[in-house]
Symmetry: C2
Subunit: 195 residues, 2 copies
Amino acid sequence: MARTAGSHSDITGPRVRAAALRLFARHGFAAVSMRRIAGEVGVQAGALYNYTPDKQTLLFELMQTHMEDLLADFARLESGADALARLEAFTRFHIDFHSSRPDEVFIAYMELRNLTPENFAVIESLRGAYEDGVTAILRQGQAEGTFALPDARIATRAVIAMLNGVNTWFRAGGPLTLGQVGDIYWDMVRKAVSA
Amino acid sequence: MARTAGSHSDITGPRVRAAALRLFARHGFAAVSMRRIAGEVGVQAGALYNYTPDKQTLLFELMQTHMEDLLADFARLESGADALARLEAFTRFHIDFHSSRPDEVFIAYMELRNLTPENFAVIESLRGAYEDGVTAILRQGQAEGTFALPDARIATRAVIAMLNGVNTWFRAGGPLTLGQVGDIYWDMVRKAVSA
DNA sequence: CTTTCAACTGAACATCTGTTCAGTTAATGT
DNA sequence: ACATTAACTGAACAGATGTTCAGTTGAAAG
């Protein structure tokens, strides 16, 4: 095979995904053309089709990769501890992970409606798996008597929605460090679910 | 003036806005063409320009109207009571108002990036005014000693983000009434901010 | 040096985009 | 009955859209 080493595909592929990610997050999937992504990479639009079968798949794979990364990192959190410690670890993890990937997070929440029904179902099930993990922590706390919750499923969504809000205002280099933001939110999360 | 009474403009105008609202919420501003809006109304695309100078203004006015309605209704809430009662009233109001206007809410949060800078500034300042109202309640509670908050501004955003989450899952006719949802969220909000 | 072929170009495809506007229609006031 | 004119049509505008593909390029394998 000619051009195996020194091939550009190892470089261009990631650059295509990076450009698509950036542009989809800034302007929205529907507002970004394949030509614009190609321009960002420095190639013609046709060349993109060496790296994705179509625009829809490009979006879907960005979202799928993001959700799988999220689940993989979430699974690494300590599961032996008591519910309070686990919820604190989750709270800080969620804030850290999401604030380190603002573009991915934005797309994963905003572009769901631009997925085909099949692709949507895949992303939704990944999101459901993440929620399940949080709900499990809350139910453990209910069983231990540490948490008092009218509904663990709704509390899960409430906590995640609250933490997602961080990404709308937090900017690294601002007055607060991520650790301080974690402290503030953990204080509110802890109280919100406590007995 | 001919065709004053019996004119269609009193009917078509609202129908244009309603169709745009529905379609923007479902598919996104960039993905909806003027021809598609016109089709929904039963009119040719050119006729839309009797009701809006351009597509951008159509979006902007939907968002502006929504935010002004929100602020007007928010201003009607009792302001004489103690902070706890005011925060409860706000919590239930926010849930009620937002769940009664899912399309408006969705657009107001999702289509900010499709506004021109001037229009964006207007909507942002309306949103800021709403946040200010909530922050005032939280600061009153801090002064009264009822609430313990590391940061009233951040707590405002946390509470609003949490309550906004309701719209992603609540459907009228489901297992819970809006009143029950209000109870569940008020329980969490109250505990989250309490001393 | 020659062959190979992954990576890419550039043009073409049919279709859609927001917006404008001369012209048509029909309900209204006189 | 007639003139007025708000409301709307339908065609046109210049350009953008996702996607395909025959052909070019140039680095590496033999």
